[in-house]
């Protein structure tokens, strides 16, 4: 059985982030895969899971989430190979440090060699990034500028929007996908959802037609024109 855990939806759930867990579970269920979705709130222990989903949040809740995660078993579980999809604030928390309003610097979890400073202006708008042969589409809304150090690879290259630094978006490690495309990015990008699902379950997945394909095609058309 595959356990998907949405972490702190009460803190990191500002931009429809609940959609990611929902899409993942539903796409697993329709293929007859044995998957379960758990939500861990800010008063809960971080449960055992195969995949953790971290969403976006406002400044105060973001730094609280970082504190809670630092005191939890989360980082060691990720070092032991648990998978993570992190968007927006979640992306920043996994790094070495991040800044919120007022340029106050906070310590991240140090799982990835990336640093987020405060950008000159907020990045708000449609986001499209090229990931291999695929396009990732979504919406970004954040004040961060993220710099990747060492051998950390970006997740995608910017087609529209700003992402990390107007060139690249997010990062990709062996077991982490991170993007600034917030909220329901897995719901809007079926290929991305399936790539994560296939990796986490270790299974090859049959294509699954749904209305999400139509939405994805429409957004690709709008964002690449």
């Amino acid at each position: 059985m595959t356990t998907i855990c949405v972490l702190y939806p009460d803190l990191l759930g500002t931009y429809g982030d609940g959609g990611n867990g929902l899409a993942m579970l539903e796409r697993a269920r329709r293929r007859g895969l044995d998957a379960t979705l758990v939500r861990a709130g800010l008063n809960d222990e971080v449960p055992d899971a195969d995949l953790y989903l971290l969403g976006g949040g406002e400044d105060g809740p973001q730094s609280l989430a970082a504190d809670l995660l630092r005191r939890s078993s989360f980082a060691s579980r990720v070092r032991d190979g648990a998978y993570v999809v992190a968007v927006c604030a979640g992306l920043q928390i996994l790094g070495l440090t991040f800044c919120v309003e007022g340029n106050e610097e906070f310590e991240g979890l140090g799982l990835v060699d990336v640093v987020t400073s405060r950008g000159e202006r907020r990045s708000v708008g449609e986001l499209a990034t090229r990931v291999g042969s695929q396009l990732l589409v979504g919406f970004e809304n954040h004040g961060g500028r993220t710099t990747l150090h060492g051998a950390v690879e970006p997740f995608g290259t910017i087609v529209k929007g700003r992402g990390n630094d107007a060139k690249n978006d997010g990062y990709r490690t062996k077991n982490i996908w991170a993007t600034y495309a917030h909220g329901p990015v897995l719901a809007m990008n079926p290929w991305f959802c399936d790539e994560v699902l296939a990796t986490v379950t270790g299974q090859e997945l049959e294509p699954l037609a749904s209305v999400a394909d139509l939405l994805y095609q429409e957004r690709c058309r709008v964002l690449s024109s």
Partner: protein, 405 residues
């Protein structure tokens, strides 16, 4: 104020009226905003001089501003100047205030403009309804909004300003608790997803029943003026609330409108009769006809508004229509659809309209709700029943325009 300033305000007011008249004549719109802008160019403090000498009530919050403002206007029982067209920023306020000389004004205020409007109109009453996520691409963070309100109320800490505030909403309480004169209203508020983490210390707020508190000491106020349960009690007076428009959230809006009216001396039992009689608010809740269909138009702009509106739907398997746009006035990012508990529509068939009908259909599909994507309006089968149509801001305007009474 000097003579030249007086003169300038007079010229500016005349300009607002002239521009609005032209705008209406040329059919370019109701003209309220464009005229207001012209007036403010001529006299930047026009809103201040137009407010002087009037009893001004401001209404702000994420949801219910327009309805609550309408209820205040209806309930007052005397002529009231108001911005009923949804133009709730300074240009709209100016345009409303030049249209009438009545000594009462009730103005709906965009949340972000509340601090400035508070400073410029010097209101007698400020009604703070609620704060939740809405158009985050524009406003960014709801907690920042609470912080800005709080700062504004700290600066204008005037005991002559009555703040009517929702005690059930921690973000509103955080903003209002610094005011000198607050009337707390204990009204049901179901959407608390944005008040999970304490606005003071960011720790978790515990909600038990209708009570809430944080370990830092921040808690629901105890000195309550207005309590809404099965009955509405304001200052120990039981008020016979029996609204014509649907929705429990509208009972909360009415309770706060009545508290505001009570604070300016309006007799409660007379006011409530007038408020009970309100049938629709600028088209909202109205029953309209379109292509043989009978539709009840419901505006829902954000997750909390949608959740409240979904609760008003019939508990049967009737069809529901939903129309979603993501134009500038709606917010360009429809991610919020995933914060709406659409799962509650299981068992209904949902027709998806609007520019972002595919976003909506995808959301419904993941929620295991039956949906139909409407590419051609004319193909929808006509039903004998009255259909509830939930639409967000610009989609609602579209439907109000294309349907008939």
């Amino acid at each position: 104020m000097g003579k030249s300033a007086n003169l300038r305000d007079g010229v500016a007011s005349a300009a607002v009226r002239a521009v609005n008249r032209i705008s209406r004549m040329t059919g370019r719109g109701s003209g309220t905003v464009v005229g207001g802008r012209v007036g403010m160019k001529i006299s930047p403090n026009l809103v201040t001089s137009l407010s002087r000498g009037r009893t001004v009530v401001l209404v702000s919050g994420t949801n219910g501003k327009t309805t609550t403002t309408s209820m205040i206007v209806a309930g007052w029982g005397v002529p009231v100047t108001t911005n009923q067209t949804g133009a709730n920023m300074p240009a709209g306020h100016v345009a409303a205030l030049v249209t009438s000389t009545s000594s009462q004004a009730a103005l709906e205020v965009d949340e972000a403009w509340l601090p400035e409007t508070l400073a410029k109109t010097r209101p007698r009453v400020v009604v703070l309804l609620n704060l939740s996520r809405d158009q985050l691409d524009r406003a960014n963070e709801v907690r920042q909004m609470a912080e800005r309100w709080r700062k504004a109320l700290e600066v204008h800490n005037d005991p002559d300003v009555v703040v009517v505030a929702n005690a059930s909403d921690p973000l509103v309480v955080y903003a209002a608790e610094v005011a000198a004169n607050v009337l707390w209203c204990d009204v049901p508020t179901t959407w608390l997803a944005d008040a999970v983490s304490c606005p003071k210390c960011t720790l978790g707020i515990s909600h038990v029943g209708s009570q809430w508190h944080c370990s830092c000491g921040f808690a629901k106020p105890t000195k309550i003026t207005t309590v809404l349960g099965d009955e509405l009690v304001i200052d120990d007076v039981t008020v016979a609330l029996d609204l014509s428009i649907p929705g429990d959230f509208n009972r909360s809006n009415a309770a706060m409108a009545l508290t505001a009216l009570h604070s300016v001396g309006v007799e409660l039992n007379e006011a409530v009769v007038r408020i009970n009689a309100v049938q629709s608010v600028v088209g909202r809740f109205s029953v309209r006809r379109w292509n043989g269909h009978v539709l009840r138009l419901l505006l829902a702009k954000n997750p909390s508004g949608f959740e409240a509106m979904l609760a008003t739907l019939a508990n049967d398997s009737s069809d529901v229509w939903v129309a979603i746009n993501a134009r500038i006035a709606d917010g360009r990012d429809p991610s919020w659809l995933y914060d709406v508990p659409f799962e509650k529509l299981r068992g209904h068939r949902v027709y998806c309209f609007g520019d972002r009908r595919l976003d909506l259909a995808t959301r419904l599909d993941y929620a295991q709700v039956e949906f139909v994507i409407v590419e051609d309006d004319a193909q929808v089968p006509v039903s004998k029943e009255t259909i509830s149509l939930l639409a967000n801001y610009t989609a609602f305007s579209d439907w109000l325009e294309k349907s008939e009474p």
